[in-house]
């Protein structure tokens, strides 16, 4: 009897294996190679890059919200001290992709989830455009989810957000730039956390899903309400208006210090003040002014992952309660930041996300049904709940060997889905580069933002992608 039972189990397991292997659609039933335990890390050979990867828990939201015209993209660029040589850049890109293989994947739709499969083709280098971060044409881009662009002395990397976050993108771009400079100028390069050595083997921890590793048991989603959106006439879908302000860091730091807050809180306060001014001029019914601030979770957890590992928090004011002076806004924002940007809060949010996506009933919903559910959910809980976003990549400190060739850095986000615009900033050298990307024609937010900085005796230099 026992023997017959064992033979039946064996027969079933063979049948299941025979069915499962050729069916790529059911790959989710296989063991996920994204999160690798320490004991397994050694077992994984250095050259053994997974043929497919699950999307990380933050990336899950991006494929359902991607349409033919809108995709969550971000862009990082470096301006060098000389004109870029495309052939050398191509060689550098190949070396960088070998070192950071998580960028060499294409997105596929499975029966229950989206997933990445490895690519072998060589990516192309494109010319820069006036309207960057347009949705990638996968076929023309050889299915890569990033686009490398080149314009005079500038190298720009545009990344689909499902692939990596700002820190991952920055590491890729800096490694690429260092490799390019090594090949071009033959200079010795000093490697660091964000400048990886292309001759090293890729570390499996670099493409793990750190959300699973660090999430705990108690999850809590943040309550969110409808936020005020600056009104404006929408541009054609392929147009993105960009305005970049170059601000001296010393003066910005000293002003923020005078208000007893960090630079991010100070910039958020200036933005809220600008939006409050617009709301008072235009709207009769007052809605809360809320800024979404992405938080890099690497500051709380020891991980080397180059994929998405960030969360966000909402800070803002409720103008229904009356007019807020600038001092009041700064103290509100600063207080909310210190209250919300803690490891415990961030972990609760991260855990809630992991718990939701691990729910067996949610997992069992086919992709074609999951797509509209997630899309509507993102619309209601994402852009609808914030007036603008301020993504601060932080200060980028580079080794001297690299810094002498790099004049400036820039970071920007693509066309937002529902809110009128988004804002990003990055510090490099003695400057902070803050970029407003917007889909509306009106420039009121940027105008009041920069005018406020000028009023506070902080000089600003402006450039844009104006069309002739």
């Amino acid at each position: 009897m026992k023997k017959r039972f064992l033979w039946t189990i064996f027969g079933f397991s063979v049948m299941i294996k025979a069915v499962r292997k050729p069916m790529t659609l059911f790959r989710l039933f296989e063991k996920p190679p994204t999160y690798i335990r320490e004991s397994e890390m050694e077992a994984l050979s250095k050259n053994q890059i997974p043929s497919w990867l699950k999307l990380d828990h933050a990336a899950i939201i991006y494929p359902p919200t991607t349409s033919r015209r809108i995709a969550a993209m971000f862009r990082l660029s470096v301006s060098l001290d000389h004109t870029v040589d495309k052939d050398i850049l191509k060689a550098a890109l190949q070396n960088t992709l070998r070192r950071i293989p998580s960028f060499g994947y294409r997105l596929r739709q499975g029966l229950f989830w989206w997933y990445f499969t490895r690519l072998d083709a060589e990516p192309e280098i494109k010319d820069d455009a006036n309207n960057p971060m347009l949705r990638i044409d996968e076929k023309r881009n050889r299915y890569y989810l990033f686009r490398l662009r080149c314009y005079e002395n500038r190298i720009a990397l545009e990344v689909y957000h499902a692939l990596a976050d700002g820190t991952g993108g920055l590491t890729f771009l800096m490694t690429l730039t260092a490799e390019y400079l090594r090949l071009k100028c033959n200079d010795p390069i000093e490697y660091s956390d964000i400048v990886l050595n292309p001759s090293d083997a890729p570390d499996p921890e670099e493409y793990e899903d750190s959300y699973i590793r660090f999430s705990r048991k108690a999850g809590a989603m943040e309550q969110s309400t409808r936020a005020y959106h600056v009104p404006g006439a929408e541009e054609d879908p392929h147009i993105l208006n960009l305005i970049t302000g170059k601000i001296p860091l010393d003066e910005l730091k000293s002003t923020a210090k005078a208000y007893n807050c960090h630079i991010t809180s100070f910039l958020c306060a200036v933005m809220i003040d600008a939006i409050q001014q617009i709301q008072e001029e235009n709207a009769q019914k007052k809605h809360p002014i809320i800024i979404s601030v992405p938080v890099n979770l690497r500051q709380f957890y020891p991980t080397k992952t180059l994929r998405n590992f960030s969360s966000y928090l909402f800070v803002g004011i409720d103008p229904k309660l009356g007019h807020y002076s600038f001092d009041e806004i700064v103290s509100q924002v600063s207080g909310q930041m210190s209250l919300l940007a803690t490891e415990k809060r961030m972990n609760a949010k991260m855990t809630a996300n992991v718990q939701m996506t691990n729910n067996i009933f949610f997992r069992a919903i086919p992709t074609f049904i999951k797509k509209p559910i997630l899309s509507v959910g993102e619309l209601l809980m994402g852009d609808r709940c914030c007036s603008n976003s301020l993504s601060n990549l932080g200060y980028v400190s580079l080794p001297d060997t690299l810094e002498k060739h790099i004049d400036r850095l820039n970071f920007m986000l693509g066309r937002p889905r529902a809110k009128p615009g988004s804002t990003t900033c990055v510090g490099y050298g003695n400057n902070l580069y803050i970029t407003f990307s917007r889909k509306i024609k009106e420039t009121d937010t940027e105008k009041y933002f920069f005018q406020k900085l000028v009023q506070l005796n902080i000089p600003v230099e402006i450039e844009s992608n104006h069309r002739s």
């Binding site: 820069d128 990638i136 392929h238 450039e463 104006h466």
Partner: protein
């Protein structure tokens, strides 16, 4: 290096006007051949690639299988072919119309569709020996609908200077078509032409059409509506 006299910000040399407030830069010492921050080239959206021939072949294969199944079922159950002819005719009709829209221009497709409809109705009339309803009702009705679709597609595709004006013309044509249909049914029933039911939809449709036509000239109001209603 110039400053905006309105905003007080420093402007990059490549900026001919202040990007924040559109105030022109007047600086005689400004260099003329400046480095632009972004090139003029604009990216375009990815094109949708539809293999029309594959869709066409697949549609006809499915239609063939469906027709054959119905014919066989009819033959084996009744011993002769009767009702299944109508199913086959219907499938042929849908296939022809879909093929016309797949390969011909939209105007030719509308004319071909009207022709197919007439042919289908004529065959049904011939099979049932009922030419009267075809000649006096079905054929004119099909022609009216064909003309209506043709005019609507023409006005919307050509936009007649503005989309709103195109929609207004389409609505007016719809109102006229409704009146024509009522006249046609009255004549077929052997009654005197007396406009009764077509007046009720025609009046609001005409009012909306005239409203849209007037609105299309007020660009300021249109911009304001667009501004307030964008999502």
């Amino acid at each position: 290096m110039s400053y905006c006299v309105n905003c007080g910000v420093k402007l990059a040399d490549s900026e001919p006007v202040c990007p924040l407030c559109q105030t022109p830069v007047i600086n005689p010492n400004q260099p003329t051949d400046t480095h632009r921050a972004y090139p003029d080239h604009m990216d375009r959206f990815p094109q949708k690639h539809i293999n029309r021939m594959f869709v066409f072949r697949l549609a006809w294969l499915v239609a063939g299988i469906v027709s054959a199944t119905f014919l066989l079922c009819d033959f084996f159950t009744a011993g002769s072919i009767g009702w299944s002819v109508y199913v086959v005719l219907g499938v042929l009709f849908i296939g022809s119309v879909a093929s016309a829209f797949c390969f011909a221009s939209v105007y030719a497709a509308v004319i071909l569709s009207a022709g197919c409809t007439l042919a289908l109705l004529a065959i049904i009339a011939w099979m049932n020996s009922g030419w009267k309803w075809f000649v006096y009702l079905a054929a004119p009705f099909t022609l009216i609908l064909g003309v209506l679709f043709f005019v609507c597609i023409l006005t919307i595709k050509k936009k007649i200077k503005s989309l709103l004006r195109g929609i207004a013309v389409c609505l007016l044509v719809c109102a006229v078509a409704l009146i024509a249909i009522e006249i046609l049914t009255d004549l077929y029933g052997g009654q005197l032409v007396h406009l009764y039911w077509s007046i009720y939809p025609c009046v609001p449709i005409s009012v909306i059409a005239i409203g849209l036509f007037i609105l299309s000239f007020n660009k300021k109001l249109l911009a304001e509506i667009k501004k307030r209603t964008f999502i």
